[in-house]
């Protein structure tokens, strides 16, 4: 990666244990600003844990995580917009009320952008959240996450459980609604094929350990492989770097 690029997120020898099990193990990683970064790996590899640590809703057992130079605690939410993989909402709200609630919480929430995204996602503002289909709940979650003008956007499995047309619309939506000059997007997903063309960088995790981080275009240029092919190779080699 080019030098002089601003580092936005730093994992410094981070270990995160749940009871006695380590979800991340001595994990160090430095992510640049202004990129779309894919965090990939098998189920239970520690992808979600990594995102939660950046969002500050969990804290490391050992080591430190910083965002834009600031240690990630719950308060980091002023710099980080986090989309959880969980299908959970305040079901007593309508779509419009959900947007207003988020608008009240965050001073960086761009109401006009939110309206645009709702239109783009074809969401009915008057509908109760509890009456939405799973696909539409997923879209609403994405709308409130993207409407914030924050330096870091985290998306944990935003495409999972959605049908291909919705997935395609969402990937296009990411391109339309993210401000690449100012925002860094980190996304975890199983649907690598769908987001492959929009990624700058891919980070591969296995069993809580960082296997490799690569520039996606370099991969294609130097190794003539797609991300999926590369993942298989690295997983087979056990990821020993050079």
């Amino acid at each position: 990666m080019k030098s002089g690029v601003k580092r936005m997120i730093e994992f410094n020898h981070v270990t995160k244990k749940y009871r006695s099990q380590a979800a991340l193990n001595d994990f160090s990683l430095s992510l640049p600003a202004g990129k779309i970064i894919g965090l990939v790996g098998e189920n239970g590899s520690g992808k979600s844990t990594a995102l939660k640590l950046i969002s500050g809703i969990i804290s490391p057992t050992k080591g430190s995580v910083t965002v834009d130079g600031e240690v990630a605690t719950r308060r980091i939410s002023s710099k980080v917009s986090y989309l959880s993989e969980l299908d959970a909402y305040y079901t007593f709200y309508t779509v419009g009320e959900t947007v207003s609630y988020y608008a009240s919480l965050y001073s960086d929430f761009n109401q006009r952008k939110a309206e645009e995204i709702l239109d783009y996602m074809k969401l009915d503002r008057r509908k109760k959240v509890k009456d939405l289909s799973k696909g539409n709940r997923g879209r609403l979650k994405i709308a409130v996450t993207l409407a914030r003008e924050v330096p870091v956007i985290l998306m944990d499995e935003p495409l999972s459980g959605l049908d291909p047309i919705v997935r395609d619309a969402i990937v296009k939506g990411l391109l339309s609604f993210i401000d690449f000059e100012k925002q860094t997007l980190i996304i975890t997903t199983h649907e690598i094929k769908e987001i492959e063309p929009i990624l700058d960088t891919v980070v591969l995790i296995k069993d809580g350990v960082l296997l490799k981080m690569e520039d996606v275009e370099e991969l294609r240029m130097e190794q003539n492989v797609s991300i999926v092919e590369w993942m298989k190779q690295v997983y087979q080699d056990g990821g020993i770097d050079k």
Binding site: K35, I36, V171, K172, L175, S176, F180, K193, E196, P197, I198, L199, D200, E217, R220, M221, N224, V225, S226, I227, V228, E229
Partner: protein, 128 residues
């Protein structure tokens, strides 16, 4: 809208190739303004940094020119365009030639086969 890219080849080159072909087919007129990086990214479903790289590559090849503060335009320089035309022709022929050679055809077979194919095409016959 956009057809998929080959995931194992650099996308910025594939996109540059597409744009060059559009220029030769006159889908993009000489002097026409290309979409902004962001628009192009959305249209083709790729990362804006990739589009930026594509535009730089096209500029290096000479098929587009960027004007400060105005955007990127298809070149009006005819010599560059004819060079582009020659280059794409050569690329296409070389890939045809390599494939045929691999399958064991001789140069003469290739030339006669090509001639036969073209004359059939021109007579409007359908071969099978």
């Amino acid at each position: 809208m956009a057809e998929d890219f080959n995931a194992s080849k650099p996308i910025y080159l594939q996109l540059a190739d597409r744009i060059n072909r559009q220029i030769l087919r006159k889908e993009l007129e000489n002097g026409q303004k290309l979409p902004s990086v962001r628009e192009m990214a959305i249209q083709s479903g790729v990362n804006p940094n990739t589009v930026q790289r594509t535009y730089s590559e096209l500029e290096r090849m000479g098929s587009v020119e960027s004007k400060r503060g105005q955007g990127t335009f298809v070149t009006e320089d005819q010599s560059v365009l004819s060079q582009l035309r020659q280059r794409l022709k050569k690329e296409q022929i070389s890939s045809f030639f390599e494939d045929m050679k691999e399958m064991g055809f001789t140069s003469d077979e290739m030339i006669s086969g090509l001639k036969e194919y073209i004359s059939d095409e021109e007579r409007g016959e359908t071969n099978d």
